[in-house]
């Protein structure tokens, strides 16, 4: 049926390229001034009385004509559009010129790369028994976008570029096999986290100890970086304005918080993350989590640590307000065990039961409850009487999230609060953020 779309002008490139990729390159789009969200009726009226800022045509007239104006020949066309050719080898050039071309083509993260010569890629492929032409998966910037397909060799090419060693390739292939981009197209500037579990962590020399989240370990650094390059080059992601719209971007995207869990530092009874997700302890896996931000909590308090964490959960606020991931130093994990929490799950459940919600946040996310409160329905009426500055005794982390991820995990057991133990035990500090579990994948099957 005849249709026109209205998109704000800030998304001109996204709208036009999306229409092209969906097979309707001449889709009739009217652009409105940006933004229209959070604008009054008066401002909306002014926008609509004016012109499309891109075409300079009167908006309402353009919308009407988009529905009524007869089609031209190009709009009736069927068939296929040409795509960019994909030769396996690029034309020969000097290393300097090639590296410049890789940067200019937005195939890098802006930092120096290792050029993927045939020799280096062949050496990288020694890290897996899989055939180079075997398809690993498909990946897209977010659900509305097209998916790109990639092989083992293509993943190896990007692993070389990231500076990875052949022994890291199975871990990188496992990440790629989830089909999860590290560069989601959303305007909200997502971040991703990848946690490595099992014997592979130590076999490839990852660092779960002092400075695990910092720039101190080759495997942590390059495996995480490879995911960003794979997302850009194999997942069609990360082209600002077209497939990446994160307004401020996210510094965590450089290496996607690539860490191994400090399994050796887990208190007795606390399972590693991959065991929580249904894998055996002797299996090696990657687990992907998705969020936006991470707080590093380096603070001494007269309160017991579990109460500090509980209070942080109550007041931490970002885009995602109902999911959290805690990165506990082994010292903190041991303290929590001593405080009586026999497992990660027990601690997470206690936090879910005892954390609260600031009143302003509760009412701004619970419209139905606000109406009930205003009608005198309990307990909401009593909550409302407490005032805007009060804490409502309802946890944001009480309900399990919807099934997330791509179905790669052997069991998807996402919980509102995930706990990973990592760090060198130099202090009783920890980190927390709004990350939620997405998927896990076996490393062993890519060896």
């Amino acid at each position: 049926m005849p249709a026109v779309s209205i998109v704000t002008a800030r998304f001109e490139e996204l709208a036009k390229t999306t229409a092209y990729k969906k097979g309707m390159p001449r889709q009739r789009i009217t652009f409105a001034p940006h933004p229209v969200t959070d604008r009054t009726a008066e401002i909306a009226r002014q926008y609509l009385a004016g012109s499309d800022p891109i075409s300079k045509q009167p908006m309402l007239q353009q919308i009407y004509e988009g529905l009524a104006k007869p089609l031209i020949d190009e709009e009736r066309q069927a068939g296929f559009l040409d795509r960019e050719a994909r030769p396996r080898l690029l034309p020969p050039d000097t290393p300097t010129n090639l590296e410049r071309m890789f940067h200019d083509s937005q195939w890098t993260d802006g930092m120096a790369i290792v050029l993927p010569t045939e020799e280096r890629v062949a050496e990288m492929l020694q890290g897996t028994s899989r055939r180079p032409d075997e398809v690993v998966g498909i990946m897209r910037p977010s659900p509305p976008h097209e998916a790109w397909e990639y092989t083992v060799e293509m993943v190896a090419v990007n692993a070389v570029m990231a500076g990875a060693r052949p022994e890291y390739l199975p871990t990188i292939l496992a990440i790629a096999s989830t089909g999860t981009t590290s560069l989601i197209s959303s305007t909200s500037s997502f971040a991703r986290m990848v946690v490595v579990n099992g014997p592979e962590r130590n076999e490839i020399g990852m660092n779960a100890g002092i400075g695990a989240l910092g720039p101190f370990n080759h495997a942590n650094a390059t495996i995480g970086r490879a995911w960003t390059l794979i997302s850009k080059n194999l997942g069609g992601s990360g082209r600002p304005g077209e497939t990446y719209l994160g307004s401020q971007g996210n510094a965590l995207s450089y290496n996607n918080l690539c860490i191994p869990e400090a399994e050796e530092g887990l208190p007795e009874g606390w399972q590693p993350l991959h065991v929580q997700k249904g894998f055996k302890a002797e299996e090696s896996t990657i687990s992907i989590l998705s969020g936006w931000s991470l707080n590093n909590i380096a603070w001494y308090s007269p309160l017991p640590q579990q109460e500090v964490i509980m209070n942080w959960l109550s007041h931490f606020f970002s885009f995602g307000t109902t999911r959290a991931t805690l990165l506990l130093d082994p010292v903190v994990a041991a303290d929590m065990k001593s405080a009586g929490f026999a497992s990660k799950q027990a601690f997470a459940a206690w936090l879910g039961q005892n954390s609260t919600t600031p009143a302003w946040l509760y009412w701004s996310t619970h419209e139905a409850e606000l109406k009930k409160a205003q009608q005198g329905v309990e307990p909401y009426a009593s909550y409302l009487k407490r005032g805007e500055g009060a804490e409502i005794p309802v946890s944001r982390y009480a309900s399990p999230p919807a099934q997330g991820g791509t179905g790669i995990a052997s069991t998807n057991s996402a919980t509102p609060i995930e706990i990973v133990v990592v760090g060198g035990g130099t202090n009783t500090f920890w980190s927390g953020g709004d990350f939620t579990y997405v998927a896990s994948a076996s490393i062993d099957r890519w060896k």
Partner: protein, 122 residues
């Protein structure tokens, strides 16, 4: 001894500077692999024929419910109704958030509307 080697190094660097070539010019060309994945084919979708006139017809204004855009949607409906009063401009809310598909609404539109305006954030 140290002075001697420093002098040799300085002379060597000076000679190198004298014969310096543009960046990359002295390098041997190499061949590298393409880092990009496989893009899917794009099948063209012919656009729907437009009616000769919208007079007497119903057009759905599909509100995808991006947060806090309702005033714009309502003003759009009122503006179109004032400028083109012989067309029936009807706001239809799509189910769920702007992430969710709404096949029932699309089926409804095909039967009961002559066209649709779809608003997409932000």
């Amino acid at each position: 001894m140290n002075g001697y080697w420093l002098m040799v190094r300085a002379v060597t660097l000076a000679l190198c500077a004298l014969v310096a070539l543009p960046a990359g010019a002295a390098e041997t060309p190499i061949t590298v692999l393409n880092p990009r994945g496989i893009q899917p084919p794009i099948r063209l979708v012919p656009m729907a024929a437009r009616p000769a006139s919208l007079d007497g017809k119903t057009i759905y204004i599909v509100d995808t419910k991006y947060p806090r855009t309702k005033p714009f949607v309502e003003e759009l409906q009122q503006g179109l109704a004032a400028k083109y009063p012989r067309t029936n401009w009807v706001i239809k809310e799509k189910v769920g958030s702007y992430f969710d598909d709404d096949p029932k609404l699309w089926a409804d539109a095909k039967v009961n509307a002559a066209g649709a305006i779809v608003l997409i954030g932000h």
